[in-house]
Symmetry: C2
Subunit: 157 residues, 2 copies
DNA sequence: CTTATTTGATTTGTATTACCAAGTAAATGT
DNA sequence: ACATTTACTTGGTAATACAAATCAAATAAG
């Protein structure tokens, strides 16, 4: 689809554009909320993601970079700042002495938990237009979308 | 809901957490795709948003800042760089000589159209897990969510 | 087993993004 | 007419992000 061999956008594509548009706009609203919640704790969106990802994981720098879709060199500074603030810790891997593993400190874990709750709070009004059984429907549709994704593009909070 | 007067997260809240989680993860995947498409054209996510917003609008700096959820001062540099690249143009408002209106140049319009098509392309595989009638359902649920939003948090591509 | 290559992370340098506070000019309010 | 608000820019600072180069450890080749 798309790939207008005929050089124009057909009806099916036009219809799918509406879905794409809705998805994109919803995403911006959502990340806007994420961003705002993070700002209250002096956390950037990326730092929020780090907290979210490391909530139940312990990853090497490279693995974390892949999750975030960022360059390895970007991670160095990102993790260093988070480390300086006591949110995460670094530890050398035992299997591979080149690798550095990153994980949440106790403080980071607390922050992550608090942030998660606040995000749920802040998204509640956003979900105001979706009520009752529609929430279940939306959820299962999104879960369907997510589970169909190739492995660790499943990155996220 | 939420607003645990009792200081704990109840069942309803826990259930809604799953929806929140799915929404957040979906958003990260979507903005990741947006970001990747933009990168191919040397456009940041924010610049992509600017193109998307100005596709069918002509806004003052402040209005654009509100749409993006950014500070006015951030917009100055953002628009200046986009202007230097020939994507947008500035023009003094006639009604108010303090105001500056921003709009897409011919080149910017072309880029916006191309980017829109590419985004639809790139999101196609992401939507792979949602097929047939489920797409319509997802779309109408998202549209329902969007239309329930207070005015221009409806910002987005 | 010794060298060559690849891999994991950091360093350095640059550009962008973003905020705040302060400043200027035009428009409103009193 | 003067004070205030509004619209935007400027200046300063920090965070974010990438690319290229470097270094150490692990793996592959010979």
């Amino acid at each position: 689809m798309l790939h207008h061999m005929d050089g124009r956008r057909d009806e099916a594509t036009a219809a799918s554009d509406d879905l794409v548009d809705a998805l994109v706009q919803t995403s911006f609203i959502t990340t806007g909320v994420l961003s705002a919640v993070g700002a209250k704790h002096d956390l950037s969106l990326t730092q929020m993601r780090v907290l979210g990802i490391l909530r139940d994981r312990r990853l090497t720098m490279t693995a974390l970079a892949v999750y975030l879709g960022l360059d390895k060199s970007t991670l160095t500074g990102l993790v260093s700042r988070a480390e300086k603030r006591g949110l995460v810790e670094r530890a050398p891997s035992e299997r591979d002495r080149r690798s550095v593993e990153v994980f949440l400190s106790a403080e980071g874990l607390a922050q992550a938990a608090a942030a998660t709750a606040e995000v749920a709070d802040a998204l509640e009004p956003v979900l105001g237009g979706v009520t009752g059984p529609d929430r279940i429907r939306l959820q299962s549709l999104l879960v369907g979308l997510l589970t169909a994704q190739p492995s660790p593009s499943t990155a996220g909070s």
